[in-house]
Amino acid sequence: MEAIDIALGLFDLLLVFLLLWLAWLVMSSEDLFKAIVLFVAFGLLMALVWVRLEAPDIALAEAAIGAGLTGALLMAALDRLNAVKPMPAAAVVTSAKREQPSLPSKVLPLVALVLIVLGLGYALLSLPDVADGLVPNVKEQMAQSGVKNPVTAVLLNFRGYDTLLEMVVLLLALLSVWSLGGVRKLSPRNTNPVLASLCRVLVPVLILVSCYLLWVGADAPGGAFQAGSVLGAAGVLLLLSGWHVEQKILLWPLRFILVLGSGVFIIIAAVLFFTQGGLLTYPVAQAGWLILLLESAATLSIGATLAALFFGGIPKSRVDQ
């Protein structure tokens, strides 16, 4: 065992310990604001874990979403929560006169927790140490996939219909938020010159990074999901700095971008179904650019959907208002 292995092992143990501690604090701390901040830290450390597990594609997605967008969504929800009812969240729990939880109702979940850990742990440890899973199948087909990054090949080619359905899930989530009537605006804050200038520098860089991730995803870690999340983050930053969009632009162009990903997917799937005889079975020669086309559309849709989910409100036409 070399020194570097020991150092990495110690790092792994530290990471495991920190994640457990943070998860426990997120669940147990009384202050919701604190819990959200700790959850963001948890997401950042998860990104490190993905790097340690040789999953850089997931690390990129986690850093953009788990540590960034989810935190922004939670913070915005907390802000709106406090706007709806000014009294602090903790006061509500105590004021709603509920009987003190009995001892069994405190202890039983803990016992269940320990039993679940033991049971699942036993199941995990009884698995074989070496299992190739689908690695041989992926390796065998890589040459025909049109890309060099195996994760992108799985996402857009081998299991393309998963990704197609996932685009629809994203769209459904946004439609559900809209059909609930949307949420109220964030509490007004005076716009700030520093935030505005930060936006002016960061947003173009984020768009550039997004394009880079999309392009590089064909043969290195990256791809539509990471690029879309970065684009979504740029949108969130713009919305936070008080960016106003013409209603005109919000109406049809936004809706067009929102359905672009699923739309292009479905059209390509249908065309391939009739010409190639299978849903999303790409002809080998065309696979590369078909995947790039799909990914570009998906990136735009994911970015727009995530930013719209953060905004929460429904864009209305003048007639509706």
Binding site: V16, L53, E62, I65, V84, L110, L120, A173, L174, F225
Partner: protein, 104 residues
């Protein structure tokens, strides 16, 4: 006991901690946080088990599943938060109460 297995065990522990929080804590925002932590635990188990392959590369199929999973999780979180805010608007409380007996 190899490194991926330690992370897999971390995954199930995180899942259980999240499940515990989901059951014990009352505030809905906390329950949403709990669901996110449970999700992270599940993703961890998936990827850690995919690292058992003999070759130089880990199994890319769980990786792809987890990436889509993360994006689905964030959109589900956004929907759950909206539902919570709607509930607070209607009932004035971010805690789920048992339905009154006479109604059910």
């Amino acid at each position: 006991m190899n490194i991926p297995m330690i992370y897999a065990l971390l995954g199930i522990t995180l899942f259980s901690v999240g499940l515990y929080g989901l059951i014990v804590r009352e505030h809905l925002l906390r329950k949403i946080l709990a669901l996110n932590i449970m999700g992270s635990g599940i993703f961890l188990v998936l990827v850690a088990l995919g690292k058992r392959s003999v070759g130089d590369l880990p199994d890319p199929v769980p990786h792809a599943m987890v990436i889509t999973g993360i994006v689905v999780a964030v959109s589900a979180t956004a929907l759950a938060l909206t539902l919570m805010l709607k509930l607070v608007e209607v009932s004035g409380s971010a805690v789920l109460h048992d339905a009154p007996k006479e109604r059910s």
